[in-house]
């Protein structure tokens, strides 16, 4: 009876209670489900951060995926970035862009500028324990001269016997000689001062023994291109999670000292997500291949992070078709440079994070000519006057090609068009994909066009893009600039043996360019670097931040 009574009397509320109980049980269940995630160190940002600090993990930002781990074959800066962290070179750049010893503890150049002798350090070993010897160096450089070599990175110097080896008439490159296990000698056909910077700095040494039995044509497909297990840079390769991140670990045998941080995660992210990760403390540093944008600076400073702008590696220019009848008078080209307010473009589009150059040598380079600074100032009246003096036909319509792909550059198109119109030139703008533009420029169909170029190395030599011997299709002188004095200055610069000789020739070239205006150099954007508060000893400069990666430390 009582039982029945109880049941009956409570039956309406039991439902609700059961429901509430079930709800409570469910939330406990959900909580416990979430707990293991936390316990494993996943889930919340705090737990992840703590795990990262204990293990000595530093997170770096890269804005696109690497395409191969053999940097000689890469098409982009991303693979080369990873490449420089895992493979050594003969020489390297110090923070002020000066060349310093690396795998070579010293090198000598003969008085005639033809023979380069490198002495390698004795204690370098590959990650599998094999010593790094002059044979590895010789093998790597010889590979690049082979007729079947398909890499993007070339030895751009006339090494004696290179051509014969490429054509198959010689079994080896006669100009590459292994003197002993730790001495290698290169002989050039003619003095080429860019050899040190273009080659010794930019040519990574590969472990010859890891490629034993591999045909040259198959090296790009070798397992080392996807999983480089035999390395000798500051870091060793751990793994690559496709399109997500590259994991690297400290190399205990690194010749410049074992890096103090154990693990390096190079994350492949969009800028805006990298910004979010700086806020969640999942990101520690920008890199040369992953920098922040001018509009992010305020947010980053708001997070209490230090922002360091340094000269970047790109230079944006307005190409001029020097072959066109109407542009042959240099006063017309000077007028266009005077017509464009370059500082205003830097201030509005780059929020001030950029520099003006009048020749293609960056300000931090030891070869920069400070006399070019301040030339070609914004002066629309002078521009009009120069156009009139040159007899410019103000009814003539010219076209400005604007390539897609770089947002800042696209936005600069209409601004430049307006500046040129303001001095009376009739300018039509045409926007197209970059490859289409390149094809049309090379075919000589363009009047004016916007284009970016990069300071891949800090070498001052301009032969490949400004010498009259480098006209398209065989070269990069797509502006078809043919100036005998400039040609002479470039030739002198390459033939120079001492720094002073080379500096004199390059100073001369920069003044010629600032006067003859083969192209209008628009702006040289700065890279905006950010370092988290826990990462110590990392100092961004124009060469990047990795120049002393072995000295980096993490604080709590």
């Amino acid at each position: 009876m009582t039982r029945n009574h109880k049941l009956n009397s409570t039956s309406p509320s039991v439902d609700r209670r059961t429901f509430l109980k079930a709800g409570a049980a469910m939330s406990v269940a959900i909580a416990s489900l979430a707990d293991p995630l936390h316990a494993l160190g996943y889930g919340t940002q705090t737990s992840h951060k703590m795990a990262a600090q204990q293990a000595g993990v530093v997170n770096l930002f890269m804005s696109s995926s690497p395409d191969t781990f053999l940097p000689h074959y890469s098409i982009g800066a991303y693979s080369r970035y990873i490449g420089q962290l895992i493979f050594p070179r003969l020489l390297r750049y110090q923070e002020d862009a000066s060349v310093v010893p690396y795998l070579a503890e010293s090198f000598e150049v003969s008085d005639d500028g033809l023979v380069y002798t490198f002495s390698l350090v004795q204690n370098a070993v590959w990650s599998d324990g094999t010593p790094v010897t002059a044979n590895d160096v010789a093998w790597t450089y010889t590979m690049a001269f082979h007729g079947d070599y398909t890499g993007t990175r070339q030895v751009e110097a006339p090494v004696a016997g290179g051509q014969a080896y490429r054509e198959g008439t010689a079994d080896s490159v006669s100009g590459i000689v292994v003197v002993d296990d730790h001495t290698i000698q290169f002989t050039l056909e003619r003095p080429t001062s860019s050899f040190v910077e273009n080659v010794a700095q930019f040519f990574w040494i590969l472990p010859a023994h890891a490629f034993e039995g591999t045909e040259i044509i198959d090296i790009a497909k070798h397992e080392m291109a996807r999983n480089p297990t035999v390395t000798a840079g500051p870091l060793n390769f751990v793994r690559y999670e496709t399109d997500q991140y590259v994991e690297l670990a400290a190399n205990p045998n690194f010749i410049l000292g074992q890096p103090k941080i154990d693990t390096f995660i190079v994350k492949i992210l969009r800028n805006d997500v990298a910004l979010a990760q700086f806020e969640t403390k999942e990101m520690d540093a920008t890199t040369k291949v992953g920098v922040m944008l001018p509009q992010d600076v305020a947010s980053l400073e708001g997070m209490g992070l230090q922002v360091t702008p340094v000269p970047g590696s790109a230079l944006q220019s307005m190409g001029i078709n020097n072959d066109r009848e109407c542009f042959q008078d240099k006063r017309v080209r000077q007028a266009m440079a005077h017509a464009i307010d370059r500082q205003a473009i830097i201030d509005s589009l780059l929020m001030g994070y950029g520099q003006i150059l009048n020749a293609k040598v960056p300000t931090f380079s030891p070869y920069y000519n400070p006399e070019t600074a301040g030339l070609l100032q914004y002066d629309p009246d002078l521009a009009k006057q120069l156009l009139e003096e040159a007899g410019w036909d103000f009814n003539r319509e010219i076209t400005l090609f604007v390539p897609t792909g770089n947002v800042t550059r696209e936005r600069s198109g209409p601004i430049i068009q307006q500046y040129l119109q303001a001095v009376g030139m009739k300018v039509k703008m045409e926007t197209m994909e970059f490859a289409t533009q390149s094809a049309r420029v090379d075919a000589g169909e363009a009047d004016l066009w916007l284009v970016g170029s990069s300071f891949v190395t800090f070498d001052p030599d301009q032969t490949s893009s400004f010498h009259s011997a480098s006209l398209p299709p065989s070269g990069w002188n797509s502006w078809r600039w043919m100036n005998p004095e400039a040609d002479q200055a470039m030739d002198d610069g390459l033939a120079a043996v001492t720094f002073e000789e080379r500096k004199e020739a390059n100073d001369r070239l920069q003044m010629i360019m600032a006067d003859d205006v083969p192209v209008v150099f628009l702006y040289h954007p700065e890279d905006i670097h950010v370092i988290s508060t826990r990462l110590q000893n990392a100092t961004p400069t124009a060469v990047g931040i990795e120049w002393n990666i072995q000295d980096w430390e993490l604080t709590q």
């Binding site: 995630l37 398909t150 044509i217 999670e241 997500q244 994350k267």
Partner: protein
């Protein structure tokens, strides 16, 4: 068909006979469709190859680096076979494909098949989960909207789902990261697993939540509208009137009769959408650092990576043909008016 045959109270030999006849018809039909698919695919591959070839520049142009000499670049182009006439390159490509070799990327020299395969699972995980989630949301919302059609609730739900489809994915994605990852710290900002972690199931699921939600917000409107109009359509049908006349309660009328009969158009649209699961979602993949096919496709277009581009387009073409065939077979199986 099996069901129909099974339920019929007829002698065994007759059942067998019906089976046999259906099977013969179906097999012949499928075989014919598959045979037609082969020339179709060949024509598609020729047109695609031609169109890709018409794009200005080739993969060597895309590697341009002013420090390389033009001679060395020409050498590379020659070594990669890019200087051969288009028909030579096409025949070389298709004969390799016929042997099951998709070739090597002209950009990074890695095998094309590996590059596509390693992205299939992440792509299907992302796209499939998003589809399931959007269907789970679309059905209740669509049914409610249909039952209460033109009410304030219906209008509200319609506006909500349509704002989902109208907001650009990168905006929803970044807003999601900002709110749920940066501020509330509920989910990770990006990637498929914690970098350097063990990639456990829980970790992967945790990383899946945000990108899937972002995609579902975008897709739910399509399915919701479909469910809604389809349910409204069947509510007007005679069998619903009959069901009501029988005195069934409204819930049973809607769920048993109206909704069940409005599944067909939804299923057929799903069939058309299936190949889309493979092609991925570029923007979402980029924001969340997700290794999907969409990003590979965009990278290969910019790099003029013909072998990778051809592989992705051809796999998509095969999937379109197969899912069309599947839909047609399902029609025949479901709708007695359609025979082949």
């Amino acid at each position: 068909m099996g069901m129909v045959a099974f339920m019929r109270p007829c002698p065994h030999f007759r059942t067998h006979h019906v089976w046999q006849r259906l099977w013969n018809h179906m097999a012949r039909y499928v075989l014919r469709r598959l045979l037609i698919a082969i020339p179709t695919l060949i024509v598609i591959s020729m047109i695609t190859y031609l169109v890709i070839d018409l794009m200005p520049g080739d993969s060597v142009d895309m590697m341009v680096d002013p420090s390389g000499s033009a001679e060395s670049i020409e050498r590379r182009r020659e070594a990669m076979g890019l200087n051969d006439p288009i028909y030579v390159r096409y025949f070389h490509w298709i004969s390799e494909v016929a042997k099951g070799n998709l070739g090597y990327s002209t950009v990074n020299n890695w095998p094309v098949a590996d590059q596509v395969m390693e992205r299939v699972v992440p792509t299907l995980t992302l796209m499939g989960s998003a589809l399931v989630l959007s269907l789970l949301l679309a059905f209740p919302i669509g049914i409610i909207s249909a039952v209460k059609s033109n009410s304030k609730l219906d209008n509200f739900l319609t506006v909500m789902t349509f704002s989902g489809i109208s907001l650009p994915t990168f905006f929803v994605g970044l807003a999601g990261i900002y709110i749920f990852a940066v501020k509330l710290k509920l989910v990770p900002t990006s990637m498929m697993q914690t970098p350097g972690g063990d990639g456990s199931l829980g970790d992967r699921l945790h990383h899946l939540i945000l990108p899937v939600s972002v995609l579902a917000i975008h897709q739910v409107a399509l399915y919701m509208r479909l469910v809604r109009s389809s349910v409204i359509e069947s509510m007007r049908k005679d069998f619903v009137r009959t069901a009501r006349a029988k005195g069934l309660n409204e819930q049973s009328v809607i769920m048993r009769h109206a909704v069940r009969n409005s599944l067909l158009p939804v299923v057929s649209v799903l069939g058309v959408q299936l190949p889309g699961l493979f092609s991925g979602a570029v923007v979402t993949e980029q924001i969340f650092a997700w290794p999907g096919i969409g990003r590979l496709l965009v990278t290969s277009v910019y790099g003029r990576d013909y072998p990778v581009l051809m592989a992705i387009i051809m796999v998509t073409a095969v999937l379109v043909i197969l899912s069309n065939l599947l839909t047609d077979i399902l029609y025949a199986a479901v709708d007695p008016r359609i025979t082949y």
